[in-house]
Symmetry: C2
Subunit: 271 residues, 2 copies
């Protein structure tokens, strides 16, 4: 999916919602089987009841890999359910030496046909390049994450800049706003405005609204730009809105609540 298509979907749907499919078998609704089949059935229901409200789906690969080969099949099946007007993101956080990163790129872009993958920057240029070589695919690089541990290394200061700023500035030389996004946590809203001054054009993928405590309007105010430029991920608040028979209604209600807030935020920012 190109940047123009993603942008068009955001303004048409009045939403920058990325629904995260961090599907945990232990937390499935009581009416579903607690197994891989139940997991895929649940994903089917969640995608169906949120597709018109979402512009992206993010599959957290860990939740599938933990079940080995059957989990990979469930991931592939789930990927096939994601509609064409939604960006399909593999939240895999990969990064390895060049020839190994090439393997990962093929796994996620050719074998599984994801539109985008999250990557970790620690190993530098040759670890990211292979992902950037695929046409119409996206690399989403970790910059400033939403978890407590983000303070351990990402905030280290070197030559007057934090490590996350070095990451953004350096990785930007290897890609461009049409194939490169950054992960910047919603719990770091104070830094988001600063990040926007470094990269006014790039899309930001922002986790941490909802369960992790980030504020949607603060994020939108700091990060929206004239191509949208923002995907806000919500996972647990949508997936586990209810464990009863009404789980699709409850999930849809939460996704709709977020979409309406996003519509308001878009208008407030003049879009």
């Amino acid at each position: 999916m190109t940047r123009e298509e993603l942008s068009r979907n955001i303004f048409r749907k009045r939403s920058f919602l990325c629904t995260g499919l961090d599907t945990d078998i232990e937390r499935l609704p009581v009416s579903l089987d607690r197994d891989i089949r139940g997991m895929v059935n649940f994903n089917t229901d969640i995608i169906r009841c949120t597709a018109d409200l979402s512009v992206a789906y993010k599959i957290n690969t860990a939740f599938y890999e933990q079940y080995g080969a059957r989990g990979w099949e469930a991931m592939a099946e789930t990927l096939d359910l994601i509609p064409g007007d939604c960006l399909a993101i593999a939240d895999a956080k990969r990064g390895d030496i060049g020839n190994t990163s090439s393997m990962y790129a093929r796994a996620f872009f050719d074998e599984l046909r994801f539109d985008a993958i999250t990557v970790a920057p620690y190993m530098g240029e040759d670890s990211l390049r292979p992902f950037l070589e695929f046409e119409d695919k996206w690399v989403i690089c970790l910059a400033l994450t939403s978890n407590p541990g983000s303070a351990d290394f990402q905030m280290l200061e070197s030559q007057g800049k934090r490590l996350y700023e070095h990451v953004i500035e350096t990785v930007c030389r290897w890609g461009n706003p049409n194939n490169l996004m950054f992960v910047t946590g919603a719990t770091q809203a104070a830094h988001l405005e600063h990040i926007r001054t470094i990269i006014p054009e790039h899309f930001l993928l922002v986790p941490g609204v909802g369960a992790q405590g980030g504020d949607l309007h603060e994020v939108a105010g700091a990060a929206l730009n004239d191509s949208g430029g923002l995907l806000v991920n919500a996972s647990r608040s949508i997936l586990y809105a209810s464990r009863d028979e009404d789980y699709t209604e409850a999930a849809r209600a939460e996704a709709m609540r977020l979409q309406r807030e996003m519509d308001i935020a878009l208008r407030q920012e003049g879009y």
Copy 2:
């Protein structure tokens, strides 16, 4: 596997060789089928002809994941072939927020029963803790890698120390020499002696000898300690020593050449 057991195997086998199973279907010997079955058959042969010379095997997960569910099955089958006196390492370079890292830890330690996993430190403490909570399992944290891109961020200086030094010092607070190793590339031999002054006791996993150009004796001189404290990985030089009928003999000859050099290095260092 405990540190004592690993140490005992090193001194008994007179080897600190980790054989890397970065098995590429395109590079299989001509006599084998170019498919997943051929991949597992090749791994079976390689493990059989190098088991007495190796103290560890490292499975590079990317080479298997690229084939989806069938690849995961091949990885599980290969893992089952690794003898009990060799450390089984998943070279997966994972790292995510706490609840997701827990999933990965379960996937690699419970579902697949690896002894060790490589992890990326960028996301900090809560991304590594879940792996460290497993008894008799090992976390192998990226510190200073062997690839060209290692210079991009790992060498950034902050408060008089490189990022990789911050990583080593900080991560050491979360684990101990019995459950934590570090990846330090053989192409960085000049830094290895310095790393040994920071962590005299921890095991180091050193890739980059052979295909990537690192020198075995330099590495051994800088890194060996009285529990061994060192695993040197070789992948391509062993796996692809020959593509002809003699591939097991050629692979064994290369592994034996390395083991003999390791024996000499151990004696030179007084072990």
